[in-house]
Each structure stands twice: as structure tokens, then as C-alpha cells.
């Protein structure tokens, strides 16, 4: 979909298969004969590296053995290098999650051992993996880490250029054209200073695309023109076809239809000769739009349908939707109303699908962010997010024009009155969507801040009550008791006792001291004790793997959830027995609360009397946990909650 420049830092120069086998055999002999384990790690790793590009699975096999050995003998440097190469191989094999896992495992080693070059390689692999999995922000962050770590490290000269180009492309995807431009300008300067013509051509194309996004058409044209010249010289077919398409679009925009036709023809020809279906599709679509503008409707329809067939075969919904729009316009001009309606419906369907996807994606990203970042930097992030959100929206409603730019060539030039009205309508809809998004964003942030603030406040209040008021009341009581009171005064002292008990009760409900001081397991045990004493309910409590404290937030939230669940049991379930279980296994924590009470219909969750199910659900969601609720009338209730602990 985009021009991506992946740069493997640790890739060996490619060698022929026979040569690889020979090298492998000699390396493996070396491994077997190695006198030290470290030498064996090296030999195994080098063997794996031979296959990085050609057979990633084979590479992974050797790298895995190397890593295992390195870890067994505590050879950290070797382990770090193995992990980085594994990460690269996983990227090659398309197993991006594994690539991320290995890359992330390598980072701490590199940081600790000051392995800067390896650190950069690990970040680059992570950036590529995030990029491939559609996480542009995470990818940018990783590439940026690469750049930050570069000064003073000896690297292949084209490497910084590649990293900057990758960032530039990601920013184009995100619609942040100014930012993209800053990176491509630098990569252009660098590629010129090292005389790397390939990188120069791609940098120019990126500059052109970003300028188009900023509506700086003259600059865009100039950049595309230079890019095309280089692409022609270097015979990079895809780049040439795409830049020619963009130039054609520019000509069309300037009213030079003949020039546009000529360029589209050339782009199509190049795309066909190089067998690049996407570029063929883009050129066909461009020609269709051009023919439509010249009122050659029959030709326009034929071209559009060819483009659509290609988009169908590539399952490129993103493109199908703009081609459908062109075809619906053509049908309308031809007066073919059934065809108009058909294309129009398809266009609207794809468009809303696309919108929904980007909305879901944006929300997912928001959530990931909340998961990984601290409260303090959230505000700054939200602002950033809003910026992205806006740009993304602009991108979506401009989807027709911009989407094509992103793919390397602009296609549509038709600027009719009707289209403007449609745009206005869709813009309105998107405006509403935007408001909704901001609202959701705000809610997430508020919920987070509220939960956090609420618990802080409760802890403070509980402490004040207990230490301040509680201490004072106890003192008064003891002073009075020392007077050996009788009659009414003795009664007052007893009442004072009850008041102290009530105050303690309130303080404990606000925030159990034991929770902050000793942790979740003890606090929950205490709470079960307390309930057993005060209600007579047979509560059994068990904990496994809870020797270590959990992060404070998790402790407080899980405690609240348990409290809420147990309150339901006590107040509404009419149960005689209950089981509370807390279990930790690695980075998962689960909480189970079940009773033998009357249960209820889970479909009527919302209408359960006085029950904080919503509260429970939102707290579980806050920890990115999962709630599994099993209940039915007469069957008791079992709630199982599992949360991941952030690594």
C-alpha cells in the first residue's frame, strides 16, 4: 500500500545458496569444535544469520539454539544479539508479534550493556514490526529512538536516511504532513550528501506527497518531477509509475488535459511492463476520471470498471470506495440510474466501513496509550491525540483525494458542484463523529483521573479519620473510663465506644489501612474475616502466588471489585457459603468470588437491585481485564476476573 523502505541492519550480504550451505557447514563444524560456549553461541548465531533473508524459519532454528545456550551460560551480549536477529527473522517471516517480543526483550540487555549499535538495530526491528502491524505511533516512537541513539555510532551511511524516510511515510499516513516534510527534507539532504540516488528519489516522492497534502501544489510538482527523473534513470518502475500519476494529476488540475492524458498513458505503460497491479489500477482510475471530465463517458466507464476489477482482485476496499464513487458519477452523467444507485450504495457502504475501522483503531490506540503511560503525561498525550484525531478525520473525509495521494498517485480531478455538496454532507457527519470521539476521549481521561483521585482522597480521608478523630475519641473514652463513671455517664461511655466502632467501620470502607500497608491478599483476608464476623456468611478465602505485592492501582481496584462483589453476595444473594480466590500466575492475576445464593438472570444485569455491576465492569475495564460472570436464577453466582499486569 505504501512505499516502505525496510532496512535490515544486521543483514549479511546476500550469498548464493551453495555458498550458504558451505558456509553453514564450516560454521557448524566450528560450533561443534568450539572450545568455549561463547564461541559456540557465535557460531550458531552466524549460521542463523546466513539464512536471515532467504529462509527465516531456518534462521530462527539456529538463532533459537544460540539464544538458549547464551541464556544458559549467562552470556548477555550473545543473548542480546540473538534476540535482535530473531526479531529481524520474525519480521521477515511475517510473524510481527514475535518480532516485537524479541525486540523488546533485547532492549534492556542493550541498555544495560551499553550496546548502542545493537540497541539501534533492535529499535529499528521493533519499528518495522509495529509498522507492519498497523501501529504507526509505536513505530514512529521506535524509529525516533533509533535516530536519538545514532550520534557517535558507526552505521551504514544509508541507514539514517532509511529510518527518516520510514518516519516520513508514517506521518503521511497519519496526515501529519508538516512533520513528514521535516523528516523527508532531512533525509533528502542526507541522501544527497552520501550520494545515494535511490534514497534521494524516494525522499523526493515523499516530499511531493506531503506537499500535496498541504495543498502546496507547485512544490509537490517540482518534487515529483525530480523524483520521476531519478526513478527513470534508476529504473525503479513502481516509483516512476506513481510519480508520473501524481504529475498527471497536477496537469489535470492545471487544465492541461492533453499533458495529463500523455502522462497517465506513460504511467500505465510502465506499470503494466513492471507488472505492478496497484499502479495499473491507480493509472486506470486516473484515466477514467480524466475521460469523465472530457465527457467521454463510455471510455470512462470502461476504464473505471477495469480499475474496479483490479481493486476487487486485490481486495483493496480502501481503493474500491473511491473507484465506486467515480463510477457512480459516470453512471449519473450517462443517466443510468440503476448503475448509479448500485455504485453509490457500494461507495457508501465501503466508506462507512472505512470510517468505522478508523474510529475503532483510534479508540484502540487510545486505550493502549492509557495502558502504557503514566497519569502525569496523559494530558499532553490527549492533546496530541486530539491533533491526530482531527487530522485523521480530515484524512477520512478527504479520503477521495488524499487516499489516492497516500498511495503515491492522485487520481480524481473532477470538481463538480454536486460533489461539493456531498462533501459538505459527509463533513457534517464527520464533524458529529468527531464530537463523539472527543467526548469518548474525555470520558476515558475523566474516568481514569476520577478513579485515581477518588482512591487517593479516600486513603487520605481514612487516615485522617483513623489517626485524628479515632485517636482523639479513644483518648476521651479512656480519660472518662479512668473516672470510673456510673449511671448516665457510664451509658455515655458505652455509646462513645459504639461511635468509635462506627468510625472505624467507615474508615475501613473508605480505604483499608491493610491494603496500603500489607497489600491485597491481607486486606482481602481481613475483609472476609470482617464479613464473616458481621454477617455470619461462611466465607472461605484462598490466595495462590500472592507473595509479591501488585502495582498499587491494581491492588486498589481489585480490592474494590471484590468488595463490590461480596457486598452483592451479602445483600442480595441470600447465600450461606462464599468462596473468594486470589491467584497470580506470572503476569496474570485473577480474582474469583462465588456464592451459593439465588443467582439471577445475567441478561438483566443492568436492572439488578442496587448492584454496582456497572461499577465492577468499568473498574475491570480500567485494568484492561476480563470479567466472566456465570449465574442463573437458583444457581448461585460466580464472577471470575482476570487482569494482565503491565510488564
Amino acid at each position: 500500500m505504501r512505499i516502505l523502505l525496510f532496512c535490515p541492519l544486521l543483514l549479511l550480504s546476500s550469498t548464493g545458496a551453495a555458498q550458504t550451505a558451505a558456509q553453514r557447514d564450516s560454521l557448524l563444524r566450528l560450533a561443534a569444535a568450539a572450545r568455549t560456549d561463547t564461541a559456540r553461541v557465535w557460531a550458531l548465531m552466524e549460521t542463523g544469520k546466513l539464512y536471515l533473508a532467504s529462509q527465516p524459519d531456518t534462521a530462527l532454528h539456529y538463532l533459537g539454539s544460540a539464544l538458549e545456550l547464551a541464556q544458559r551460560i549467562g552470556f548477555s551480549r550473545g543473548a542480546a544479539r540473538c534476540l535482535i536477529n530473531q526479531s529481524f527473522a520474525y519480521n521477515e517471516a511475517g510473524r510481527y508479534r514475535d518480532a516485537v517480543r524479541c525486540g523488546e526483550a533485547a532492549l534492556p540487555y542493550c541498555e544495560r550493556l551499553g550496546m548502542r549499535k545493537e540497541y539501534i538495530a533492535a529499535c529499528n526491528n521493533l519499528g518495522n514490526a509495529w509498522n507492519a502491524t498497523g501501529n504507526p505511533w509505536a513505530a514512529i516512537q521506535m524509529y525516533q529512538k533509533c535516530l536519538d541513539a545514532m550520534p557517535g555510532v558507526e552505521l551504514p551511511p544509508h541507514f539514517p536516511v532509511t529510518v527518516r524516510s520510514n518516519i516520513a511515510i508514517l506521518y503521511i499516513d497519519l496526515g501529519l504532513f508538516e512533520k513528514s516534510l521535516a523528516y523527508s527534507a532531512q533525509s533528502l539532504a542526507e541522501s544527497r550528501s552520501i550520494g545515494d540516488l535511490h534514497s534521494e528519489a524516494y525522499s523526493l516522492a515523499n516530499i511531493g506527497t506531503a506537499c500535496l497534502g498541504l495543498d502546496r501544489r507547485e512544490e509537490a510538482y517540482e518534487a515529483f518531477r525530480q523524483a520521476a527523473e531519478l526513478a527513470r534513470k534508476l529504473e525503479i518502475g513502481q516509483l516512476l509509475a506513481n510519480t508520473l500519476g501524481n504529475i498527471a494529476d497536477h496537469f489535470q488540475h492545471m487544465g492541461d488535459l492533453a499533458g495529463a492524458v500523455r502522462l497517465y498513458d506513460e504511467a500505465l505503460d510502465i506499470a503494466r511492463r513492471n507488472g505492478i497491479p496497484r499502479s495499473i489500477m491507480l493509472s486506470l482510475h486516473g484515466q477514467a476520471a480524466l475521460a469523465m471530465e472530457q465527457r467521454q463517458l463510455g471510455a470512462a466507464r470502461t476504464l473505471g470498471m477495469q480499475a474496479l476489477a483490479l481493486a476487487d482482485s486485490m481486495q483493496d476496499d480502501h481503493y474500491r470506495h473511491s473507484i465506486c464513487l467515480t463510477l457512480s458519477d459516470i453512471a449519473l452523467m450517462e443517466g443510468d440510474m440503476p448503475a448509479f444507485r448500485r455504485y453509490r450504495d457500494e461507495y457508501l457502504r465501503l466508506r462507512s466501513q472505512h470510517l468505522q475501522k478508523s474510529l475503532v483503531h483510534a479508540l484502540q490506540e487510545l486505550q493502549t496509550r492509557y495502558q502504557t503511560k503514566e497519569q502525569e503525561i496523559h494530558i499532553r498525550q490527549l492533546e496530541q491525540e486530539r491533533e491526530v484525531q482531527q487530522l485523521r478525520l480530515r484524512l477520512s473525509w478527504g479520503g477521495l483525494a488524499f487516499a489516492s495521494l497516500l498511495l503515491g498517485t492522485a487520481v480524481i480531478g473532477y470538481r463538480g458542484q454536486r460533489r461539493r455538496k456531498l462533501w459538505a454532507e459527509s463533513q457534517l457527519k464527520l464533524e458529529q463523529q468527531h464530537v463523539l470521539q472527543l467526548e469518548q476521549e474525555k470520558q476515558l481521561a475523566t474516568a481514569q483521573a476520577m478513579l485515581h483521585g477518588q482512591e487517593e482522597e479516600r486513603a487520605r480521608l481514612a487516615r485522617d479519620l483513623h489517626d485524628g478523630l479515632g485517636g482523639m475519641l479513644s483518648g476521651i473514652k479512656q480519660s472518662l473510663a479512668a473516672q470510673q463513671p456510673a449511671g448516665a455517664l457510664a451509658e455515655a461511655v458505652r455509646e462513645l465506644d459504639a461511635a468509635i466502632g462506627e468510625m472505624r467501620h467507615i474508615a475501613r470502607n473508605l480505604m483499608p489501612e491493610a491494603l496500603l500497608r500489607f497489600g491485597l491478599r491481607d486486606a482481602l483476608q481481613d475483609y472476609c474475616d470482617h464479613l464473616r464476623r458481621s454477617t455470619g456468611l461462611g466465607i472461605r478465602f484462598q490466595a495462590f502466588g500472592m507473595e509479591q505485592r501488585l502495582p498499587r492501582q491494581a491492588e486498589v481496584v481489585l480490592f474494590r471489585v471484590a468488595q463490590e462483589l461480596l457486598n452483592n453476595t451479602v445483600r442480595h444473594a441470600g447465600a450461606s457459603q462464599a468462596l473468594v480466590q486470589l491467584l497470580r500466575d506470572g503476569d496474570r492475576v485473577s480474582l474469583t468470588v462465588e456464592d451459593d445464593g439465588q443467582g439471577f438472570d445475567p441478561a438483566k444485569l443492568g436492572s439488578q437491585p442496587g448492584i454496582g455491576w456497572l461499577n465492577i465492569q468499568s473498574r475491570v475495564a480500567y485494568l484492561h481485564g476480563v470479567l466472566d460472570l456465570r449465574t442463573a436464577p437458583g444457581q448461585g453466582t460466580s464472577a471470575h476476573i482476570e487482569i494482565p499486569l503491565a510488564a
Binding site: I476, S479, E513, D585
Partner: protein, 205 residues
């Protein structure tokens, strides 16, 4: 006369306890301190037989102070005096070397009895503290299984895979896997075979 030392940051409590114990001829108040640090300083100059220590102190927890005092003055007995009656505090104070635990609503008689018991080298627990500790809520010897775990366990024993179990119970395979791992952790075994053996042995299946 048994010398009693008070550590509490609330002057009213100190005064109250002084007043309560003042009239007794078996013991005397040797001194008082409002913080852990002050207690250490004063006790170094002015030894005592029994110290009554509050759990909440401004500079450290009573639990830590208890440990510290026991290491400095091994012969001195320590009684926790607290408004908390939760298991976690009681067990921790006793672990830290305290000779007893009583609540701040204690009567003069109870206080006296506690001090005398502690001074005699025995352990004193107030009624409520004893109640808390004797309740049968300590983790059972054999792990209890939750409903889900029981279901998952029996399906595993039938030889079903995670995916098949997930389909049967209408939960995700990931959740099934969590339950499986939880069961392994609970039984302290390494693999499914050992888990089933364990379950059969203890009649959990």
C-alpha cells in the same frame, strides 16, 4: 512494680491510659513517647518492663518499632495497642515479637491483665483479637476449586483441548488456558498429567 512505657502519638490516649493504670498498685507508668524515635531514646535512658505500642505512629509503623525495640531491649515485653482488629495487623505484630495485642477500647482490668500476662512471659490476646485469629478462614489445607475450575478440570480429564472446552463452556480459549494455568499453580504441579493425578488423588474429580 512493673514499669510500663507508653508509645502513642495521641496525648489524649496517653493521658487516658495513664489515668486508667494510675490507680493500680501492681504497675507504674515509667514514661511515654509520641514517636518511635523518641521511644527508642527514652527507653535507652529509662528502661521498662512492658511497652504498650500503638500501631500507627507518625515516624514509623508500630510493627517496625516492635522489631527495633525487641532487638535493642530483648527482655522488654511489648504489647500492641491498636484500634485495628484485623488479622493482618495481629499476626504481623506477633511475628515482630509482640507479647500481645489489645484494642484501644480495653478496660482497666483488661489492660492490667495484659500487662501482667506479658510481664510473666506469656502471650495475651484480647477477646476480639483471639476471635479474629481463631476463625477458620486461614487457607484450607487442600485448595478449593471454583465452579469454572471444576468444569475445566473435568473436561481436561476427559481429554478435551482448550478450544473444545472453550466451545463447551462458551468462553474464550484464552480464558480456558488461564484456568488451566491457574489449576497448575494451585496444585503446584508442572503439567496436565500431574494435575489430573493430583486431582484424582485428592478426590477433586
Amino acid at each position: 512494680m512493673i514499669r510500663v512505657f507508653l508509645v502513642d502519638d495521641h496525648p489524649m490516649v496517653v493521658e487516658g491510659v495513664k489515668a486508667l493504670l494510675g490507680g493500680l498498685d501492681t504497675l507504674e507508668i515509667a514514661g511515654a513517647a509520641g514517636s518511635g524515635r523518641e521511644a527508642v531514646e527514652r527507653l535507652a535512658q529509662q528502661p521498662a518492663d512492658v511497652a504498650l505500642v500503638d500501631i500507627n505512629l507518625p515516624d514509623m509503623s508500630g510493627i517496625d518499632l516492635c522489631k527495633d525495640l525487641k532487638s535493642r531491649f530483648p527482655k522488654m515485653r511489648i504489647l500492641a495497642l491498636s484500634t485495628f482488629k484485623e488479622r493482618s495487623y495481629i499476626t504481623r505484630m506477633i511475628e515482630a515479637g509482640a507479647s500481645g495485642y489489645l484494642l484501644k477500647n480495653a478496660s482497666a482490668e483488661e489492660l492490667e491483665e495484659a500487662v501482667l500476662t506479658a510481664a510473666g512471659g506469656r502471650l495475651y490476646l484480647s477477646m476480639e483479637a483471639a476471635e479474629t485469629l481463631t476463625q477458620t478462614s486461614a487457607a484450607p489445607a487442600l485448595p478449593l476449586l471454583t465452579q469454572r475450575e471444576k468444569e475445566v478440570l473435568s473436561l481436561i480429564a476427559e481429554g478435551l483441548t482448550n478450544g473444545e472446552i472453550a466451545d463447551k463452556l462458551f468462553i474464550s480459549p484464552l480464558t480456558v488456558d488461564s484456568h488451566r494455568k491457574n489449576l497448575l499453580a494451585k496444585f503446584g504441579v508442572r503439567n496436565t498429567a500431574a494435575m489430573i493425578k493430583y486431582a484424582l488423588e485428592y478426590r477433586l474429580l
